[in-house]
Amino acid sequence: MVNYQERLDRTFAALVDPTRRAILAQLEREDGASVSELAEPFAIKLPAVMKHLDVLDDAGLITRTKSGRTVTVRLRAQPMREAMEWLRRYERFWSTRLDRLAAYAENKEAETRRKGR
């Protein structure tokens, strides 16, 4: 069982690559594409696309199902949701704290100026 933290790392690492993001965006538009359909927009060879799909698969971002000679690729949204939740949670957490930090520092600045320093 891969833990939450490792899953997040894999998701974010998978998303760092622009080709992989483009593949995900394509799957967003048309879920259930074949490997050759996915490879079409890119100026890269099929084996390179397969490697990107392996990374996305390892991160749990896609699923591949084979039917006869065709492999159908589908998007899996769950890891993306977890990644978004991590970001949103800490964004809220730190945003409120940084607001207070700003308010405190601004008071200190005003105080320092009143004292003529």
């Binding site: 974010f12 998303l15 760092v16 993306m80 991590w86 730190w94 207070r100 520092a105």
Partner: protein, 141 residues
């Protein structure tokens, strides 16, 4: 690698913001989870020095934050480790980096929170991050 970056403009000079981020008095003012009381706050702002704060939340539960100062370049850069005890989960040790830049109205603060991992992994992923997040937002907005 997972990290989050927030930028704030503060109407105070960098030296004041730097102290607010590193002294026991400063961090007690803003680091707590809500308006509940600060039970204690201590800080030894030098490289290798530690800080520790304990709070009581308005709901009554107590939480503790602690860590070590890893880099201190007054008044422009602070790197510290951070561990949060008493939350829903102990997410392990994180790394916090605060960069301060003087701007006409005061200070531009760039706050980065990242999971602690080896430096090489961190550098490798840092570059691609902003773009990845934009796309992530666009994909699952």
């Amino acid at each position: 690698m997972t990290s989050l970056t927030l930028v704030r403009r503060i109407r105070a000079r960098p030296a004041i913001v730097f102290d607010a981020c590193t002294t026991a008095e400063g961090i007690a003012q803003w680091w707590g989870p809500d308006a509940g009381p600060v039970l204690f706050s201590e800080s030894d702002p030098r490289v290798g020095g530690r800080y520790r704060l304990r709070f009581r939340r308005l709901g009554g539960s107590e939480h503790e934050s602690s860590g070590e100062f890893l880099e201190l370049v007054p008044p422009e850069r602070i790197v510290m480790s951070w561990r949060w005890k008493g939350g829903v989960e102990d997410a392990g040790e994180s790394r916090i980096e605060i960069k301060l830049r003087a701007v006409p109205e005061g200070t531009e603060l760039t706050f980065t929170h990242a999971l602690l991992q080896d430096e090489e992994t961190r550098r490798g992923h840092e570059q691609g991050w902003t773009g990845a997040l934009d796309k992530l937002e666009a994909l699952f907005a």
